[in-house]
């Protein structure tokens, strides 16, 4: 079937009539539009006696050709000699498409920016409010478990401990080992000029005990497990599983949130401790290989210069970070709505928020320790 041929002819009354022959269908639409473009003037009538095939897209294009102002019902009267089937289709299209023109939403760009800014600001405030409310809800849930009104789901807790803690051990240790080595190298290079390479030991051990061990493991867990919490709970939400839990008179907080939170509260300190060991090992290895600090000397120097309470200063931060990561991961998951895109958006948001808050709280701890002269 060929694309419609368009030919001009004069009617008896001297009007410009366009004769359409061939096929006017979706398949041939781009060519047809090109031919219409080449016409240069609007026909006053269409003669469809030679038209073979017509579909709804073709019908719409013919109506648009007759009237650029989209008054299709008037245009219909100016179509002549159409087959009954074609006439019926044209009438249907003219009737339906003209019904309710949806107005385009036009905004000036300056105003649009202002609106976006306002939306972002109020969104941020609402977000902070929701997070605070969720912290409260989770604490209430905890209280209910402590007072024995709710059960702690041990199976679920152990399962999540394995997934968020045990499975993360290799990656956390490897990463901290490498960072420990890098820190040792960097400080050794800077200190060598002063003949103080031995201070590398303190730099590595203090930085890992107080900061890096817990910070690196928290960031890794936020990326690894916080995102998993959001995606799991989010896809449950979009498939109405959360609604089902509520309809069965169960509590999503008790069933989904508390086990994940407890698992992280237990496992993040353990991971942080392993991270400290791995980091110091990395530093010691670099010391032995490149700086002539033997492992024995490293340990002796560490015992003499590093306080034990540095370890506690580091580890005490782990439960706080765990609480932040688990709460944000679960809350973002519960906020997912319907679409697949929403799951992705909330997962991204969950990881960004938890890493952000982990670093902010780490900075707060640093200020606090400084004020306490620790």
């Amino acid at each position: 079937m060929n694309t419609a041929q368009l030919d001009w002819r004069e009617s008896g009354t001297g009007e410009a009539v366009l004769q359409v022959r061939g096929a006017c269908t979706m398949q041939h639409l781009p060519e047809l539009l090109a031919r219409i473009e080449a016409l240069r003037r609007t026909p006053s009538q269409l003669d469809l006696s030679g038209l073979d095939m017509l579909d709804s897209a073709g019908a719409l294009v013919l109506l648009r050709l007759l009237d650029r102002q989209r008054r299709y019902r008037d245009a219909l009267a100016r179509i002549v000699d159409a087959r009954p089937a074609h006439q019926a289709l044209l009438a249907l299209v003219a009737e339906r498409v003209g019904v309710e023109p949806v107005p385009e939403r036009a905004r000036s760009s300056g105003r649009e920016w202002l609106i976006k800014f306002g939306e972002a600001a109020s969104g941020f405030a609402e977000h902070a409010w929701q997070l605070a409310a969720f912290f409260g809800t989770v604490n209430l849930g905890f209280w209910a478990i402590l007072t024995g009104k709710r059960k702690l789901r041990m199976t679920s807790v152990v399962h999540h401990m394995e997934r968020t803690g045990l499975d993360a051990v290799p990656i956390v240790s490897l990463l901290c080992f490498l960072v420990g080595a890098v820190v040792a190298f960097l400080s050794a290079t800077a200190l060598r000029d002063f003949g103080a390479s031995i201070l590398t030991v303190e730099i590595v051990s203090v930085s890992f005990l107080r900061e890096f061990g817990v910070l690196l493991s928290a960031i890794l867990v936020a990326g690894r497990s916080g995102s998993a919490f959001t995606a799991e709970i989010g896809s449950m939400r979009s498939r109405e599983e959360i609604d089902a839990i509520q309809a069965l008179a169960l509590d999503p907080i008790e069933l989904l949130v508390i086990p994940r939170l407890v698992a992280l509260l237990v496992m993040l300190p353990v991971l942080a401790f392993l991270a400290m060991l791995a980091g110091i090992t990395g530093g010691a290895l670099v010391g032995a290989m490149a700086l002539d600090i033997s492992p024995t000397m490293f340990l002796v120097r560490m015992r003499d210069t590093t306080e034990l309470y540095y370890l506690w200063l580091g580890l005490i931060k782990a439960p706080v970070f765990a609480f932040l990561i688990a709460c944000i991961g679960c809350l973002e998951g519960l906020k997912v709505s319907g679409s697949a895109e929403s799951v992705g958006r909330h997962t991204t948001s969950s990881v960004v928020q938890s890493i952000f808050l982990v670093i902010v709280f780490d900075a707060l701890f640093a200020v606090l320790y400084m004020q306490m002269d620790l």
């Binding site: 781009p30 073979d52 719409l60 249907l92 299209v93 949806v102 319907g338 679409s339």
Partner: protein, 265 residues
């Protein structure tokens, strides 16, 4: 399209499908004629949806041949295959709309991907499809999660109609709808078929749909099509499953309602 020849647009010969040891189809033959509404019925798990998926190429059959619009899709060149695929539209059970796009964008997806058209024409065409399937104009800017089940199905049909196909495949169009909504849907199928000159292949187990909107019914029992005929004649068929289905309380009331409607008309 208005080529009113009586050729078969879909022809299935000796189709076989098996999943592991479970045989779903064996020696299944079926023809769909141009311009008719053909319903495939059968119990749950009889392989109705698998048959639809085999015809549109989502399921590789283990045996047999499927021809759509005169082309054997399994052995066709990718370009030929793609050309045929653009001549049908499919509505999946729950609409299968893209959840992150609005209804209007959903309908424009096939147009944008397969045809180079000016944007305002595409918008207007998409609005036309929305109006044709009986959705309100303000549904255009809603995302699927904001629509009811029936509206999602209508939007699914609108997307299937985006490229003005010759064949429309519908997978259980009335399942999950209230009786009024289902009746409205049957009407929609008849209207669309008549005005857009479609061939409709629908999978259903709704007896009301069969009596109101179908020209022929194919009964899929025991891994193959046991009978194809008009709804009135198929209900007289002696096969035990057909008798159980059409002579049961639901079948009788559907047929009775049809009789009343015919008297009223």
């Amino acid at each position: 399209m208005t080529t009113a020849t009586q050729d078969d647009v879909i022809s299935v010969r000796g189709l076989g499908n098996r999943f592991g040891t479970q045989v779903v189809h064996e020696g299944l033959d079926l023809d769909v004629r141009r311009g008719e509404v053909l319903a495939v019925i059968g119990g749950s798990g009889a392989g109705k949806s698998v048959l639809l998926r085999s015809i549109i190429g989502l399921q590789e059959p283990t045996a047999g041949q499927v021809q759509v619009l005169g082309t054997d899709l399994r052995n066709a060149e990718p370009a030929v295959r793609a050309a045929v695929e653009r001549r049908w539209g499919v509505m999946f059970q729950d609409g299968a709309l893209f959840s992150s796009l609005t209804v209007l964008e959903n309908i424009k997806v096939p147009m944008i991907e397969h045809q180079t058209l000016p944007l305002d024409l595409m918008d207007e065409l998409a609005r036309l499809k929305i109006a044709l399937v009986g959705l309100p104009a303000d549904a255009a800017h809603k995302v699927p999660s904001q629509l009811s089940g029936g509206m999602r199905k209508r939007a699914g049909i609108a997307r299937a109609l985006a490229l003005d196909p010759e064949i429309l495949f519908l997978d259980e169009p009335t399942s999950g709808l209230d009786p009024l909504g289902a009746a409205g849907f049957d009407e929609l199928i008849v209207t669309l078929k008549r005005s857009l000159d479609l061939t409709v292949f629908l999978v259903t187990h709704d007896l009301d749909s069969i009596f109101t909107c179908c020209d022929r019914v194919a009964v899929l029992v025991d891994r193959h099509v046991v009978a194809v005929d008009t709804p009135a004649r198929i209900s007289e068929h002696p096969h035990p499953w057909i008798q159980a289905c059409f002579r049961g309380p639901r079948g009788r009331s559907a047929e009775h309602a049809l009789g009343l409607r015919a008297q009223g008309a």
